[in-house]
């Protein structure tokens, strides 16, 4: 372990200003959606206050993936036509694009690859949720999919200098890449991601997805199914080469996640074989 690297990362975590920021509207909308006493009108007003994000949200509402056919020209209409859960997902897409859509040096991801990966994992997570009768949480799985790797945006700088050591340790000890990250740097990208979500005041369920997406069996029992969904979606996207970086496939495919969701071998192969269609759908959001 490199104590000085651990200290520098600890310093970043302690000083929230150094962690990435997103527009306030995202956390406000996530909180409001969960409160049954909040009227849709209040949510629409909150979003509309941020002019820049409203423009992007309307564009996304009319994109191939989200559109229901009719042109949407206001947030009010969007909520009526697409539903509040869908609009919430769109707000998160619009709010996180800037921080995720960039070069991630240490993991060797070119500009746009982490963003494409997040969107593909989001689309596939939603699909798995619907397939395995978890439709009620499909929207949360989608949100979690977008942001599951957000910790990489901060940790990449340190991985750049320690990559060889991390990979060597993973190989020699037969541990997955994120475990080796923690051994070498004191933190892994899941933990950093959780800290970022704490700064953003995101709900516990999303923090769990980010924190445990490589080790779903450690997630709190109530979140095990949703963390498992994003874990499987992440695995399939990496196997298909979508957003695969220097860490490659040095990860574990969790048996606990497969069992939790009751996925059969046939279903796993069909989901994987369907990746081209998932990518087509995802490209409508990029």
């Amino acid at each position: 372990m490199h104590a000085h690297i651990q200290q520098r990362i600890q310093g970043i975590i302690n000083n929230l200003d150094q962690l990435p920021s997103i527009p306030d509207v995202a956390s406000k909308v996530l909180t409001m959606v969960n409160d049954p006493d909040v009227a849709f009108k209040a949510i629409a007003d909150e979003i509309s206050k941020d002019q820049a994000i409203t423009t992007n949200i309307l564009k996304l509402c009319n994109s191939a993936y989200f559109s229901k056919g009719k042109e949407i020209s206001s947030i009010d209409r969007a909520i009526v036509t697409l539903g509040i859960k869908e609009v919430k997902d769109i707000v998160v897409v619009a709010a996180t694009r800037e921080i995720l859509n960039k070069i991630i040096v240490g993991y060797d991801l070119a500009r746009g690859e982490l963003w494409k990966h997040g969107i593909a994992v989001a689309v596939l997570s939603k699909r798995i949720a619907v397939l395995k009768n978890q439709k009620a949480i499909a929207d949360i799985a989608f949100t979690g999919g977008i942001i599951h790797d957000v910790g990489k945006t901060v940790l990449a700088l340190f991985v750049q200098n320690t990559f060889r050591e991390i990979l060597d340790l993973a190989q020699s000890r037969q541990i997955q890449f994120s475990d080796a990250e923690k051994e070498i740097m004191g933190f892994d990208h899941q933990e950093i991601g959780e800290k970022i979500l704490t700064k953003w005041k995101f709900p516990e369920v999303l923090k769990s997805i980010v924190r445990y997406h490589h080790e779903p069996q450690k997630a709190p029992a109530e979140y095990l199914p949703i963390v498992s969904i994003v874990h499987i979606a992440n695995t399939l996207c990496l196997m298909a080469g979508v957003g695969i970086g220097a860490d490659g496939l040095y990860h574990e495919l969790s048996d606990a996640a497969i069992k939790t969701l009751g996925l059969t071998n046939r279903e796993m192969e069909d989901l994987y074989g369907d990746m081209p269609r998932v990518l087509d759908q995802a490209s409508g959001i990029l």
Binding site: F163, M239, A240, G241, I244, G248, L249, D255, M268, E269
Partner: protein, 148 residues
């Protein structure tokens, strides 16, 4: 799938998928197939399965003037997750992709001259159509394969 004559570079990113680079050394035309799974269930996108994509690639190259006796292949990809339960069949998909690709190439009389396959590494491959060389970038390191 891409097929064209020189100059040009075909690029793809691979996990468990396999990239099959086929080149005619005399006509200097080549093409790449990027397959996800070994066997087409029948109604799948023909470009995504080894057993349908490779014959398709060969026929496109022949249309571009390639001759079968001058064709050779290079393979990359077919990685596996670092850890998985042995009963999960998708875990072996990388190896099955490599195996099926080789089988279909052999059936078509196309020799596999070089390969960079297996392991748990992700690969970015560039296939240069001017001379048929393949560059593989994996885990921050680059390797070149020249045989055609």
């Amino acid at each position: 799938m891409g097929a064209s004559s020189s100059p040009g570079i075909l690029r793809t990113i691979l996990g468990s998928c396999v990239g099959i680079c086929v080149y005619d050394r005399m006509k200097k035309v080549g093409g790449m197939a990027h397959i996800l799974l070994p066997n087409n269930p029948g109604d799948g996108n023909p470009e995504k399965y080894a057993d349908s994509a490779i014959p398709l690639l060969i026929s496109r190259l022949m249309k571009d003037g390639a001759k079968k006796e001058f064709l050779s292949a290079k393979l990359a990809g077919g990685a596996s997750m670092f850890k998985f339960n042995a009963s999960v069949t998708l875990g072996q998909i990388g190896e099955r992709n490599i195996e099926e690709s080789k089988k279909i190439l052999e059936k078509n009389g196309i020799p596999v001259l070089e390969q960079d396959t297996g392991g748990s590494t992700g690969r970015v491959i560039d296939f240069f159509l001017e001379d048929g060389r393949m560059k593989v970038k994996a885990g921050g390191q680059e390797k070149l394969f020249y045989k055609v």
